[in-house]
Point group: C2
């Protein structure tokens, strides 16, 4: 419980001591940029995992590591107040049910880390399986918190 509360607070108070205080529109632009950079790399993972592109173990591992690192930066991307101020697909429920949202974000981060770890090995099927699991953590959050 305390751990969950702390996780929410961390998400909410994401601007650390070193904060410039970004405006909502800047936070939204940052959020969208971050997702775009994640998606860019996920796109290559999808191609390899689906067999449409040749499997390249080093590239798969490198991009999985990127996604894991980038996922952590989402901690700063949903600051309260950034529900409006620019066009955004982020639904208000993110801020009205922050504990659930924080949990789903943590699931994605943990799963992306697991993917990055497995991707460093040489078990392609295991890497594909972890990738599938990672994509399901994307979906679990998007289904509820991203507008169409």
């Amino acid at each position: 419980m305390l751990r969950r509360l702390l996780a929410v607070l961390m998400l909410v108070c994401s601007a650390p001591s070193a904060a410039p205080t970004p405006q909502p529109a800047e936070i939204i632009a940052y959020r969208q940029s971050l997702f775009r950079v994640i998606r860019w790399n996920v796109g290559y993972l999808v191609e390899m995992a689906s067999g449409r592109a040749e499997w390249n173990a080093a590239d798969f591992a490198r991009r999985a590591a990127r996604v894991a690192a980038l996922s952590r930066q989402l901690d700063e991307a949903f600051v309260p107040g950034s529900d409006s101020g620019a066009l955004t697909d982020a639904k208000p429920e993110i801020w009205t049910d922050p504990e659930d949202f924080a949990g789903r974000l943590r699931d994605f981060q943990a799963q992306a880390r697991a993917l990055a770890r497995v991707a460093r090995g040489d078990d392609i099927d295991a890497a594909k399986a972890e990738f599938g699991k990672t994509m399901r953590t994307c979906k679990a959050c998007h289904d509820r918190y991203r507008a169409e």
Copy 2:
């Protein structure tokens, strides 16, 4: 089964646009997103290095590591053909003088890596000095290759 799952996931995570042959407009959007995510983190580094925000060694090191990692992703952000197709500040000289451009990009990447390394230590002045050097590698490229 895996194939079906991936087909669904591709729809869900709207990922495939980036791979394998992104269109110029997508590359430009990726490039701008990457720079925005870099700038977000650099903003905090500037605040700490300038003394406007309290020095937080862990946060400085974390953001320096991010900038170093993100700088490597710029390797994919200036694909030939991405000089037009959407609004961009990237000047044509990037593609007409690719060797010079690549050299300046490498300088930034190497310096960002050096910054990340020094930032893991406990010498604040050294970290600030490396940060200054890193910012100069940004400027060296922007002065020549970024339109106002």
